[in-house]
């Protein structure tokens, strides 16, 4: 029941919004406070979420399974954003691109390495050298 799960998720989120809005202060009607609008929209979101849960109750719907390569690609970009500062642009980008090329289509390992090296070099040259983006150098200094 994906609708019920999504509805519960948004209901939880709306409670968090309401809690934070109350903490910020609602003000008075003649001078609304910083939490006024978020409180109103949070309250509407809570009601809508419950209606969403109700509309999906008892409806059996199975979403198609996530493709393995989608999960891996999502994990790869997350890990990339976490290690970019430590490994530096060149190493982190090479590893990301190599994994993505591998996920896209099965290729020979040397082709993946060659293509990844080329794309990393072009990315660095175009953005780093020509457009002066200051990429992180990382632990290895490049």
């Amino acid at each position: 029941m994906p609708k019920v799960k999504s509805g519960i998720f948004f209901f939880g989120l709306s409670l968090l919004i309401l809690w934070e809005s109350l903490r910020l202060g609602l003000g008075v009607s003649t001078e609304p406070g910083p939490g006024f609008m978020s409180f109103c929209t949070g309250a509407i979101l809570a009601v809508l979420s419950l209606a969403f849960v109700y509309s999906g109750w008892g409806v059996r719907m199975t979403a198609p399974p996530h493709a393995r390569r989608v999960i891996l690609a999502m994990a790869a970009v997350f890990v990339y954003s976490l290690v970019l500062d430590y490994l530096g642009f060149i190493i982190a980008t090479f590893l990301l691109v190599a994994l993505l090329f591998h996920l896209g289509e099965s290729r020979r390992w040397w082709a993946v390495i060659a293509m990844s090296a080329l794309v990393t070099f072009l990315g660095y040259y175009f953005f780093g050298t020509l457009l002066h983006v200051f990429f992180p150098r990382g632990l290895f200094g490049f």
Partner: protein, 502 residues
Amino acid sequence: MEALQSLAYGFGIFFQPVNLLYCFLGVLMGTLVGVLPGLGPAAALSLLLPTIYHVPPVSAIIMLFGICYGTAYGGSTTSILVNIPGEISSVVTCFDGYQMAKQGRAGPALGIAAFGSFIAGTFGVVGLMLFAPMLANFALRFGPPEFFSLAVMSLTFVIFIGRGDVLSGLMMACLGLVMSTAGMDRFTSQPRFTFGIPALLDGFELVFVAMGVFGLSEIFVNLGQAVKRETIDTKIKNLLPSRRDWKDSAKPIARGTLIGFFLGIIPGVGAAIPTFLSYAVEKKFSRYPEKFGTGVIEGVAGPESANNAAYSGTFIPMLSLGIPTNISTSIILGALMILGLQPGPLLISSKPELFWGVVASMYVGNVMLVVLNLPLIGLWVQILKVPYSILYVLIVLFCEIGAYSVNNNVSDVLLMNIFGVAGYFMKRYEFEGAPLVLALVLGPMFENSLRRSLIISDGSAAVFFTRPISAVFLALALAFMISPLFTRKRIGREALEIEEQD
């Protein structure tokens, strides 16, 4: 006369080499994105948003506009040659365009699509030039209550005309409004929804949200699907339509242009619905409606013209009122804010170089697009043959570098990736991204005008209903909300259901 003088001024701005260059880059990128299946104008605008930080404001906006109307041209190429629409507003072109290509008439189909687009695009710019300043003058009477009601109406239209479920659309809009309050409160400078994270002190920046929700998530979705492409592999000849083709297409182009332009002005309609309506109208007017879908040129000429004229129509409320009518204009509006420009009725008078420079660029941009799309059609066909498994890697990398380059900050990359994953799940569970981003863009105006109105009226909400213009906007919003009770379907749904059936 005044408009012509202003236009001459606009051409003076536009013919500066830097603006010409960015216009060319914009239409080139737009065509490229239009040609590539799976990437729409919203994704293209989001992906290129980081570049505007390094470009003069007028050039940046000229480029973004170029991307927007460039996609309308490029989208027809894939529809005709591959039977895969480059974007939703090109879906209808598949019906007859691909059939024409299969019969060896890809040339005339591409030709009439380009010429129809050119005629409609040029008419649309004339309309934009005439109507936008008029509307902006009218909007000078607006106060906070009118702007609040206008924002409510725009959001309602987008949710109710949109493709998704109304309930989930409303939920997304609420979430977008809450997200827009994150960061420093404009009235009290109190940090809101930051949860102690310094990166959130500036709020959720549109650039990262849009890149994630429309750019990166699109890649994840496409990666999970096997995209099958069968390109028509014949030599494309006779790109210039014959006299007979012109005779058959003249009226559909005229009707499509009018339908597209006037529907495009309405918030939420965008460019897709006019194409379906134009197709339906042409079928109705035709002496041989049964032949539609088998490769008639009217089925290409009308929708392609409607598509292009609609883009110009969508720019009118955006430039004159500061109200985005669809996702592409939301992103451009966000770009104006990023560049420190204040969208609204005063934009045209306070920044004439921007408005008239953009208008002039659209005239020349349309000519550039005809040149790009007809003599260079072979180049686009070759690009269609690049495997997606290579293309997607380049797009992901472009997203990552683009997000990093905005502030040279890795946490921005992380934020964009979070929204990319969120966007993937939103698509999977059928939550539309458009209301979320539109609400995020409209949020500051929404909140400011709401709070100001309540301060002005001594806390009375009656101010929204007693001022006539505000009351009209709210009445229109209400009419849209309750329309399903009186009609079997929501307004605009019929057209989209044709697409789902096909």
